[in-house]
Symmetry: C2
Subunit: 333 residues, 2 copies
């Protein structure tokens, strides 16, 4: 029924070993027999069975990708970076959503390992001990993308979240603000608590600005949360005049909340976000934002993974990409 390597061997009057050689580009084949085999392959429409190949060679040329949610542009962007590089190196990708649920993450790791992927790229906002342990003991390499593992002993690629956030807050401070609100997704996520929030506090302290817990809001990282946050913050006795938002959606929510109440951005309030997705240009005023290079992070993570899978020497398992602040109109100057 389906044509196998054996069929083409028979038709070409050679052994399966020879067919295998030409299929795999092995040079030890006389040009004339290679040609003959190729013809038969074409004629029979032979397509190598990657599963059989995988079983025999113990390599599947597919890598697993576990991300929180592909419908979230942040992760979709990273996924594209991962896939592009994977394709470049001839790997395919098994993609799965974890919804940032540890149990799912563990199950997914398990089923991917069962499928004999050659490696895994993972994005997780909270690398728990259990996860960390699994990653350390997995039979194939795993690299984290845009996700921090505090022990720093698993390969990963990120930007310097603390420094980037610090700079963002500083920008607001340098514009004269004393009442700066901090808005982020769940503090259960390492990046939010250990980096963004920590940087916020540090920057304020360094500028001798008192930290007001009322100005710190941790919610879902969505547009609606941004609107809500504005509602609650704007009714404070001493409301904030500037906002640091952990994502573009959050920032847009704040801006719209303010605008819907007649405020002007950036004249009345200023806001800086942390993401710089294409959304940032699609609002008025356009968002000033810390650029979080998700595509690059995905691409570099995948590239790193290929190196590890090839057992190449890695200079540095923990890579930190450069960041920058994209100045637009939601912050003055």
């Amino acid at each position: 029924m389906t044509v196998t390597i054996y069929d083409v061997a028979r038709e070409a009057n050679v052994s399966m070993a020879t067919v295998s050689r030409v299929v795999n580009g092995n040079q030890n084949v006389k040009p004339s027999t290679r040609k003959k085999v190729l013809e038969v392959i074409e004629r029979l429409e032979y397509r190598p069975n990657a599963v059989a190949r995988g079983l025999a060679s113990k390599k599947t040329t597919t890598v697993g990708v576990i991300i929180p949610d592909i419908s979230n542009s942040i992760y979709a962007e990273a996924a594209r970076g991962i896939e592009d590089i994977a394709t470049m190196y001839n790997y395919n990708i098994i993609l799965a959503n974890s919804d940032q649920n540890e149990e799912k993450e563990i199950t997914l790791l398990d089923t991917m390992l069962g499928k004999q992927v050659d490696g895994i790229v993972m994005m997780s906002d909270a690398v728990t001990d259990k996860l960390h342990h699994l990653m350390k003991h997995a039979p194939v390499p795993i690299v984290l993308a845009g996700s921090v593992d505090e022990s720093n002993d698993v390969p990963s690629v990120n930007i310097d979240y603390f420094q980037a956030s610090y700079e963002a807050i500083q920008l607001l401070i340098s514009n004269g603000h004393k009442r700066i609100a901090f808005l982020s997704g769940p503090l259960a996520y390492t990046i939010n608590s250990k980096y963004k929030l920590a940087a916020y506090k540090k920057a304020l302290q360094d500028a001798n600005i008192e930290i007001d817990e009322q100005l710190i809001i941790s919610e879902e990282s969505s547009y609606d949360s941004g609107i809500e946050a504005w509602e609650t913050l704007s009714t404070l006795d001493n409301p904030p005049t500037a906002f640091f938002a952990g994502s573009d959606e959050l920032a847009i929510g704040i801006i719209h909340g303010a605008q819907d109440h007649g405020k002007n951005v950036p004249d009345d309030i200023e806001v800086i976000s942390f993401e710089n997705s294409k959304l940032a240009r699609m609002v008025r005023p356009r968002l000033t934002s810390v650029a979080f290079p998700l595509y690059d992070i995905g691409a570099v993570a995948m590239r790193l993974l290929t190196k590890i899978m090839n057992k190449e020497n890695i200079e540095e398992k923990v890579v930190i990409l450069p960041h920058r602040i994209e100045s637009r109109q939601s912050v003055k100057g």
Copy 2:
């Protein structure tokens, strides 16, 4: 090194067949031996090798997903729908981007078939004859999601693009507009030319409004194209007063183009889009839009695929999901 079914068979003093049975949940195993086997599996940390299983059973429980670009929210949304249902039915997904390039699409189909996927969900804005032929002759079922194949003989799930577009144009007409612009992505894409544009022309004709080719713009479906389109259209002698935009980004581009030039939406111009992504709520004015239920399309397509893979009886291979118009503020009334 890695523990196999044979190892657990030996340790549990049973045959591999029995281990296979318990692993696969076959009921023909005495509870006591099942328990024994399960213990050994746990102790040895045995993990079934899906590749070997796939080779032996000719089923991989993975399906291929070919989409134009995962970093585009349209497709990402659909991908999420596909993946959710795939997970529900215990399938994994091999995801790849085609960039809407026929050659890549063909290559991807080939490598996925080589990897022995059990089925494929494909999104393609232009199902060429070649593609159609490949799909018809593939060894596993393929279903199209949000993509039309005009011959209608390959399984697919869509909405009624013509009718939906017609209604959108009608809404604009009923608001008194005579100069209505049509904006879409490439007319090389079936949906744009054969449905959206066709509906536009029909609706205008039915209302005895003359069709002005100057008002028809087909460009990339991006925010910037929307802005550009506004620039060129607004300088016409008799500029349009209403716009039908093929996507949310296009619509937002038009709106911002207009607003940046002091126009008010919807007082000066009205615009309706075709998509209704979450972006629609994240602009001012909020977008009135034809709802294109991408998640559902993906989910239903995947569900359909599972049915075909299971050789269940399918009522209708070509499914049309209902659509609706979400009224917000970019169109009056």
